[in-house]
Symmetry: C2
Amino acid sequence: MMSDDKEKKRFGIKDIAKLADVSIGTVDRVLNNRKDVSEATRKKVKDIIKENNYQPNLYARSLSVKNNIKISVIIPKTSLQTGYWQLCLDGINKGIQELEPFGIQTEVFLYDQEDVHTFLEVSEKTIKSNFNAVVIAPIFIKETEAFVKKCHRKKLQTIYINSDIPTKSTLGYIGPNLNSTGRLAGNLTSYLVGTNAKILILNIAKGLENYKYLDTKIEGYRTYLNDLDRNFRIEVIDIPYNEYEEVEKELLSNIEKFTPDVLFVTNSRVSVVGRFFHDHQEIKKPYIIGFDFLEANVDYLSKGIVDFLICQRPDKQGYFALNYLYRFFLLKENVTNFKPMPIDIITIENYMFYEN
Amino acid sequence: MMSDDKEKKRFGIKDIAKLADVSIGTVDRVLNNRKDVSEATRKKVKDIIKENNYQPNLYARSLSVKNNIKISVIIPKTSLQTGYWQLCLDGINKGIQELEPFGIQTEVFLYDQEDVHTFLEVSEKTIKSNFNAVVIAPIFIKETEAFVKKCHRKKLQTIYINSDIPTKSTLGYIGPNLNSTGRLAGNLTSYLVGTNAKILILNIAKGLENYKYLDTKIEGYRTYLNDLDRNFRIEVIDIPYNEYEEVEKELLSNIEKFTPDVLFVTNSRVSVVGRFFHDHQEIKKPYIIGFDFLEANVDYLSKGIVDFLICQRPDKQGYFALNYLYRFFLLKENVTNFKPMPIDIITIENYMFYEN
DNA sequence: TGTCTTATCGTTAACGTTACCGAACATTGT
DNA sequence: ACAATGTTCGGTAACGTTAACGATAAGACA
């Protein structure tokens, strides 16, 4: 009934050829949808392929084909204050390492998110060299869209990560759904406090004009909480600085007037807020919710100062993008749409198991 | 500076041979640590390999070698009341599908977790056939240990998933850390209620004597909460039934006496509790925490009856196990230890993004 | 009819690695 | 001295697929 020890010879291109009474060359032409095959034999071969559920040997294919796939990755560079992009880069590097033995060459270009010129420079480099695909984390909307259009003309596959922009890439977008992450933060908040609670939303980022997308998170957060009808008092404060001292000053002056029960930091800069309440133990600590699995954030999570980190796996985004390109070019799969990224909740009791 | 369009020929076995002035046969002998090479040439070749950081082409290797890897998977079969094992099976099937084109044959054996005899049967089958490895989800401790010892004698690699047992497998254990999942549940509980809260722990399972491991979860849960010194009242109830009607009866009689603020279900059977509070809207619903991303559980999560699902990714366990074996046999990697499985928190606002 | 094109198909050399078969030479035993 | 055995190595077929190159035959055009 079972235990078929006979080395099950894989059903391959040769077997198809034998059954169809043609050469393997013809079978290959059918398999790869190339011309120079009559409709009659094409159908015959296709039928046999379907009947026997032929699965190509990916090893053999990748060995045979000259893998000159070159991928360009364009993302912002990590700054001291925002470790976020380092996570993203980590995932990309992991992907590069995995794909390298399979003949895929990847080059990473970092640009300064405070300097459009650097972005234009690296995008020009990508266009000039002959890459097959480019992974982009967009910051400068207009310039990115112009760049992507150029890529399309050069038959260069494009794929966005981290944030989506109107002009569509050829392969799609891999990244978080911002409104949902805001709603999730609202959901957690609803478990933390009762009616009439005071809630403070903090936007901490230098050059806030480039971070319009944060509004989407806030909107998700607010609508979720407002729908609860619990008469929350919600305030929003913008802090357009990166250095701790500046943030500290802003917080001190504001928290006097408005002592929140819950503090929601809309991005990964929650660690500076953590440091604030660590340094100012005289002030009653609210519940704190923030984003992303950065070392500094996890530090204050483990200290019990930050309560929840919502994480959209920035590392997975880059990794998935590369993995998708691998499947697109080598395995010739045609995944139509990406599954949305999971949104993870990290607390003091499960952070040590995160990132696998 | 960049854009090296010259097709970077991979540095391969031929190049080594040329540099060392030997044949590729000799290089192969060195690479695979086979005999019939003099110490002098062996060293010479090894040096060249190291100097040039030679990376074998995995595709070529797997094409050349006869991939007769056969894997046996032994897990409990899904019953109507416990969809848990279906998740596990789903992950395994995904792994099988991915590994199949690489020449790895996998056979799944399901046994009845209420009948030792069925386990003995499938384990016997595995021993009789010539598998290279076996993935086991243990339920019957003693019988599993005897089986694993037999496997070791037959040079059969073993690997546990889902629950660990004393007699070690050759390759380790992939599965949840039970104490930590209990602590995490306690952590969430601590955010939900204040001092003096009443907490009910529910063990729901037929044949509870086979589920000693649930105690570990409970211990983690209790110690976390007791350390908070909030004077919680914690009660534990065992319900050794699977059918809803029985559970309903037990719940009705108990909840009269002890109306909990939080209800912690120690396994994946939380959906029956969800149904209970759905059917009995006259009873005030406590916060409900349970386990696993089963369809029924998610259903009551989306209805707002179940508040938190803690999920240990049962599907990933099987998938990881197969993936590990692939790397062990084909890529000849020797991963020493598994990373622990992540523990995920699922709420009404992020369940739709789960499982990627 | 002869030449030229086109459509269709077979043949074959790669791709990088593995493992088997012997060749060449050295060593041992008688 | 000769055969038998052992050591070290080169040569090569095979793994399944791809794609370039030819071969053949049929039709088009003069």
